[in-house]
Symmetry: C2
């Protein structure tokens, strides 16, 4: 059977998925957008979001073109002399990747800023309708994303037949994701912290009060951080895992018959197709009764899609007589991914010990609440690391037992884990939409019942988010491990005389590389968090200035100047991106060209190991503090207004940049670093200052 059929099929499913996304988009747009007042608020949020996105994409377009030219030039000079075609292919793939990621983010935002108000309006009717609007809007982003990704990868591979060019596509998507995620993360928490600290604590006005000058920026932040940023982030893991597995398939079967080599290179794309199919079906099955539990509905969707996918995969593998080793790898990746998600839940759900104990100890003050949250956050890295280790071993030895290269199994396990992307992204994008709808319902005075309904939807979003977040980090971890393997194989392909790259822990270059790499994720997260504190500090001054100079604001007789806060958040976020971006893109190249490929291998390893630990720690500690605050607000440990409540508010504020800025950006950081290293591997393999 000609493998090209699968590529055409992939393109077809990509178009189908995108088409469904557009249909749902039209449906969402056709929903009732509510009163003039609600629409006005929604428009202010939309305008703020667009302003930021235009600003961000403008800057990115410049950087992308510049980087594209660099790639075109660099990749024209390699192997046997000058070959412009290769350079142009790589640069083109890079720019297309960046563009695709931008389109997915744009579309997601576009539907989110429309769905928020429509969800609120639907909630005036009933919970079920509101849930549908929000969830389907999330599905627009997820289906568009997987559609574009699979279409792009299949097309590029079909045209060039070279997975290395697909790597360029992935790098384009990732470099955009890094900036979208980190920038959005800084933006959203700047506004959130500033709005809370001055509004709730100083002025004593409730959350989402229209008198707060930062309230629009805060709601914009949910969209640019949690929708556009998060979308770009998972897009990037999704593509990167597929490309990593394709590359390992390509290099791992160099000595096998050509037919086998092509099949194993294309297999990851075939799994993507199955993933799209399973997600489309899974999305249809998400149902919540009139007064049912939306949280359960979201989690059931994940589990059911997982089962559907596994069933499809098993049928396909057995009916086609494909190697069962790859099936084992796929399923072990997927299964452990879901397990990790549910285990992580233990640390952030207020039904269990960690959140309750942290809330309880908050009665003795902020400091103990912080120490407790940090501690449980650190412990929470355990189950995930254990799971990732288990998935790696199962995939490796599962593949090897059936005669496949073990490393190929690791690559396939990452693809298996991410085959759920379609459903995971929809669950995740649902969160900020209902969060926004709650804000709009409050600001436009839709009444208590509506706000309560939106609250139910919101807390379901938080539960789902905790699970998908653990899942996303583990998937990213397995992806970078696969990319890491791909890096090694890329280097070895281009080493003179069939030398191998021994990344022994005791090779001094590798060791030095690990030590240098280990410092990158901590420093990167610190830079992002410092940007948040710095920008929040500025915005706090601005809010205080408005309250001071325009007394009508607090009386409710005058509108505050929302735009200044929106502008502050946008500019602050973009300015703060320069250093972290250089760290991610320039440092690996410096290490590679100066200390050589072994040191770069170590560097990537070091960054991956500490990166996974910090990403898990920060995401989970942040989620834990958030829920400890909510637990106290629900009336425990003294309830709202008590000392324990004040302490948990401090914890929540500390956790905000942990879980929404630094933690999730680390995923993208390590992906970008590993991708750029693999991309430049052919050059670094031959050109470097020091030896081994």
């Amino acid at each position: 059977m000609d493998t090209r059929i699968w590529l055409y099929l992939g393109m077809g499913f990509g178009v189908l998925s995108f088409g469904i996304a557009l249909l749902i988009y039209r449906w969402v747009k056709a929903q009732d957008a509510g009163s003039e007042k609600a629409q006005k608020i929604a428009r202010a949020i939309r305008d703020g979001a667009w302003a930021y996105l235009r600003y961000l994409y403008g800057a990115l377009a410049g950087v992308s073109v510049l980087f594209g030219i660099v790639l075109a030039v660099v990749f024209s000079f390699q192997e046997e002399g000058f070959g412009l075609l290769r350079g142009l292919e790589t640069a083109g793939a890079y720019i297309i990747g960046a563009l695709c990621s931008a389109v997915a983010g744009y579309l997601g935002m576009s539907v989110a800023v429309r769905a928020n108000v429509r969800t609120a309006v639907a909630a005036t009717d009933n919970l079920n309708r509101a849930f549908n609007v929000a969830y389907r809007a999330g599905a627009v982003l997820s289906l568009a994303m997987v559609g574009i990704a699979v279409f792009g990868m299949c097309l590029i591979y079909l045209v060039t037949g070279d997975p290395e060019v697909v790597l360029g596509f992935s790098f384009g998507a990732s470099s955009l994701a890094l900036l979208a995620k980190a920038g959005g993360g800084i933006y959203t928490k700047t506004a959130d912290i500033a709005a809370d600290l001055v509004g709730k604590v100083e002025a004593g006005i409730p959350e989402d009060d229209p008198r707060n000058p930062a309230v629009i920026a805060d709601n914009v932040g949910d969209n640019v951080g949690d929708v556009a940023g998060m979308g770009a982030d998972i897009f990037d893991s999704y593509v990167a895992s597929t490309v990593a597995a394709m590359l390992i398939g390509f290099t791992g079967f160099l000595t096998a018959p050509k037919e086998d080599q092509v099949f194993y290179t294309v297999l990851p794309l075939i799994l993507c197709i199955l993933g799209i199919l399973a997600s489309i079906i899974g999305l249809q099955l998400v149902r919540v009764g009139k007064n049912g539990k939306p949280g359960t509905a979201l989690n059931m969707a994940t589990v059911v899609t997982c089962l559907i996918f596994s069933g499809f995969a098993a049928i396909l593998f057995f009916s086609m007589g494909w190697n069962i080793g790859a099936l084992i790898a796929t399923v072990s990746g997927l299964g452990i991914g879901v397990l990790i998600g549910f285990t992580t839940n233990f640390f952030t759900d207020d039904n269990f010990g960690p959140v309750r104990k942290t809330a309880d100890i908050a009665r003795s003050g902020s400091a103990l609440n912080i120490i407790s949250g940090v501690s449980y956050g650190l412990i929470s890295t355990g189950p995930s690391l254990l799971g990732i280790a288990a998935a790696t071993l199962a995939a490796y030895f599962g593949a090897e037992a059936f005669g496949l290269p073990g490393v190929y199994g690791v690559g396939i396990a990452a693809v298996g884990m991410l085959s759920l992307t379609g459903i995971v992204v929809a669950n995740d994008a649902y969160g900020p939409i209902v969060d926004n709808s709650k804000g709009i319902a409050e600001m436009s005075g839709m009444g208590d019942e509506v706000v309560t309904r939106c609250d139910v939807l919101d807390s379901a979003g938080n539960t789902a988010k905790a699970i998908t977040k653990g899942f996303a980090i583990s998937a990213a971890a397995l992806t970078v491990l696969a990319l890491f393997v791909a890096y090694k194989e890329q280097i070895e392909q281009y080493l003179p005389d069939g030398k191998t790259l021994e990344l022994s822990l005791l090779n001094p270059m590798v060791l030095a590389g690990i030590l240098l790499g280990a410092m990158v994720p901590p420093i990167f997260s610190a830079l992002l968090m410092l940007a948040v504190t710095k920008n929040a500090f500025k915005m706090i001054e601005e809010i205080r200035r408005q309250f001071r100079e325009i007394p009508g604001i607090l009386l409710g007789t005058k509108d505050p100047d929302y735009a200044t806060c929106v502008g502050l958040a946008s500019q602050g976020a973009l300015k703060a991106l320069v250093m972290p971006a250089l760290l991610a893109v320039v440092l690996p190249l410096v290490i590679g060209f100066v200390l050589g490929p072994a040191a770069l291998g170590g560097f990537l390893g070091g960054a991956i190991f500490t990166g996974i630990v910090f990403a898990l720690f920060m995401a989970n500690a942040g989620g834990l503090w958030d829920n400890a605050k909510k637990y106290v607000e629900a009336g425990h440990c003294g309830g709202s207004g008590s000392d324990a409540h004040k302490a948990t508010v401090v914890g929540d504020t500390v956790g905000d940049p942990f879980k929404d800025t630094a933690g999730p950006s680390i995923n993208t950081l390590i992906t970008v670093m590993t991708l750029i290293s693999s991309l430049f591997a052919p050059i670094i393999a031959t050109v470097h200052l020091f030896g081994w």
Copy 2:
């Protein structure tokens, strides 16, 4: 020249060093112990400290004997059948190591709890005299420690001629250090946090007020945590680095002439002798003028000792015609160690940006102060990791350039770094002594001038501590890297058929091991911190109970019940040690015997990498918060009582267990894990469930 001469010389210098320590001890004891009131308080502190130490050593004695029996049995069954001698040697060395570590800690405490009150009394006279009492008391600990260590190692090697038996000695010292350090760290911060939270915040009484029921426990804590614990910790690094280099020397020159092999095995001990000599001279040179700066005096002592040592080493190497590669390794380790110490200072000294910015942003509340401190703490890992990487590369390639095995260079660099131990420990032990003296001066009402003088001494101790702490962590890092090399060589010695242990990052077993190892330091620190919050919570309840039930306490008419708080802290600390100890000792063995030597190698690597990062992060963030609070108290950003001050107090409380409990215990954790793995390497190499 017979190398045995060096061993005898080492024993001689060990005795000399210990003898000088005893003489200084007598001098300290002969100082004026002050009024009856001051002595009464000092006695309460001393009694509390003894009570804890008796409790701790009692538990440890049981564990040590048990473990000694296990070692005796296990090491009797190996290689060629049953050989009881080897088992008894190993067990004996282990018990002697534990005993030596205990004696050093005991002696240090013994002098510290006498020097505190004498320092306060001397401060009624002048600063210079007070400084001398405190500093010389610190010197007692440091000289006794290096003396015992060098004597013990030389003696054991002289008798057995086998560095593996010396490894048993080192493991004994380390396992005791782990418990002393972690237990002391929990003890001291339990008391400190509880005393502060109830005393300063709730009851509004000043620090070190005798009305506070936890005040004695707090002062006991300084001694058991910072003197006994810290002493045991550096003792452990000191011995471990020497043994690691000896082992690498032994296995690295297996094919060289016997004479060379013995020389390179003994060379680390020769460097220790030079270190003792340099420290004894350096300690004599510490002088502070009548109203001079004690901080400068401490730092100058470090730098001068460093130069003296380097000079001696150069003279010896050139005059004896020894291989210059080893000299380069020694000096690069030492030089970079000092450099790291001073760079770290940037992040914790209030003359520079990080502390000031953190204090400044505290004006917007606790949350931003915490985020800022976490961020700078994360960034502060950079210079140290860079330095450790540079030291590794310089030592490796420096040694290799002169024909020595590169890994031997790494081992020697660690020994070089730790040759300063004599002076570093003295500087460090000085801190808690002057801290205590300040407390005694306040509690016994010696007057403002004396308290101010003690304050000057105290803040000098903090500056010196910041520098020595960065130094200690880096030295520990280089030590575990050397131990890690030793582990690999130990395994390879016992592998059948001359197989080698390839710790490639892409071997799935190694990779899984790294992921599992990476989680140990975070979980270990979390367990210690949770123990602190849990115990502090209990002690807070107890203090509140006393204030409530005995109204005379706050009026000053009745003495509080100090002993109950002391008892709570002791028992809580010891109970909390069980889990962390199992993590450190049992987990490596489980990984080794189940997943095999490659996975264990990865495990150690993972633990070392995240261990170094977390140790640096926690130590520096804690120091930064502490100094940010002091900076505000000095009148900046609103000064004492302002909102910024309240926020920095929260930061300081969070930082306490970071810098004094979790951070420094990680050093010992990774040392113990690597030591036990090396010790059991001969058995693990042949007996393990899964393969490679």
